[in-house]
Symmetry: C2
Subunit: 248 residues, 2 copies
């Protein structure tokens, strides 16, 4: 069922929220709410792109696959962004994968319609291109951060980024999965997470993580978190303060 038939729900995707009303009105009927089930893959390497997604709650990991089957996380996409940038930039396939890391909902749009509509939505197009730039900056920072910074710093960064995109202070995540995202051993994450836990910054119980002290985490992470965060805030901050963005 198209959203046009419904009273407007609370819109949470920050890109869409930033649009001028007339452009949003045009876009609105073409957006379809979809569920984002945990671990589902919405964008497979090599396959044609049929849709773009604007997360409302929950978020995606953007993964690059190695030939040994390992996946490396190169970026995150939550309600500050959009999944399917290649469609915007004129690619027909994707070689990265988008996997749901935290379940939730998104607004889906057909890739063809998206391409079509962009002609008539200059503000949308401009905004998305700037988002592509911000996302590019995120990936570039990840490249720089990987291999230079210590595991504990990178884990703290990852937790902060995840927390920014989570709805509450809490989310489902095992050491095993974090180790895959960070490209390290599971045991390594256990040790690093143990430090953070001992310091009182986080708490976990059976595949559930709760961030209890953001400033604490920020004090142990590397600068890479702040660099990416500020770039993102600068893009979206025109319409709302960071407080509105990341805390309900």
């Amino acid at each position: 069922m198209a959203l046009a038939d419904q009273p407007p729900p609370i819109l949470r995707n920050r890109l869409l929220m930033t649009l001028p009303p007339e452009e949003f009105a045009r876009l609105w009927p073409q957006l379809e709410p979809v569920e984002l089930p945990l671990r589902k893959v919405f964008q497979e390497p090599g396959k044609p792109l049929t849709s773009v997604y604007f997360p409302e709650t929950g978020w995606f990991s953007i993964l690059a696959y190695m030939e040994d089957g390992d996946a490396a996380e190169v970026g995150l996409v939550g309600r500050e962004g959009m999944l399917g940038l290649p469609v915007l930039l004129g690619g027909d396939t994707e070689d990265l994968e988008g996997m749901v890391q935290a379940p939730g909902t998104a607004l889906r749009m057909d890739a063809g319609a998206f391409r079509e509509e962009l002609q008539f939505l200059p503000a949308f197009r401009t905004l998305l291109l700037r988002y592509a730039l911000v996302h590019h900056g995120q990936v570039a920072r990840t490249a720089a951060c990987n291999g230079r910074h210590q595991l504990e710093q990178r884990l703290a960064r990852w937790l902060l980024m995840a927390h920014d995109r989570a709805d509450g202070g809490e989310f489902t995540m095992t050491h095993e999965f974090m180790s895959m995202m960070l490209g390290v051993r599971r045991a390594g994450v256990t040790v690093a997470a143990g430090q953070l836990s001992k310091a009182g910054f986080i708490r976990y119980k059976g595949g559930h993580i709760e961030v209890t002290d953001r400033p604490g985490l920020e004090s142990v992470t590397c600068e890479c978190y702040g660099v990416v965060r500020r770039a993102c805030d600068a893009l979206l901050g025109q319409a709302a303060t960071a407080r509105d963005v990341y805390r309900r």
Copy 2:
């Protein structure tokens, strides 16, 4: 002096070569040849972007700066690309740095004029957006490659990418600089380069490196080289074969 006053030289930038004649004709008078002196910085973090550059010979390293002053290379831009993607995507400043890693020449264009002209050059715009996607893929691969793959593999990859963008089989490069690009110790590069040298893949003498066996290098590098190379070939291959692209 503008290029319009001169007989057309041999154009070597692959993006520009791919343009349809009528669009190129419009662009041509606005391109100004500039030298790319070794190590010169053409795009400084935080500063407004005044120009975009299309390398003809030589190439840039794209660097992310850490707060300790270290620089991490996140991508390369040679004659297959363009320096100044943020201008295309609507950013006014850059937070990455473009440093000349191999000296040569480029065609410069004013950023404002570039933005203006894009409205009238649809093929150019489309091509550049696709290039932005390819470059994004390169950075994403670098993120995945850093920290997962061994130094020797990454060094081989770097040498191959540099060789692709170099004019001959030879280029100026010290262990010291490669270590900075790869984010490892200089001594580490010496050891890894020693392996490659012993295997007969490369040869060096006093800050000069010569690639003597490309297939050999390709046999020891990780898949990351091929993944990025193929994406780039796919973008530019419409107009020329890979042979024309990378070997004079």
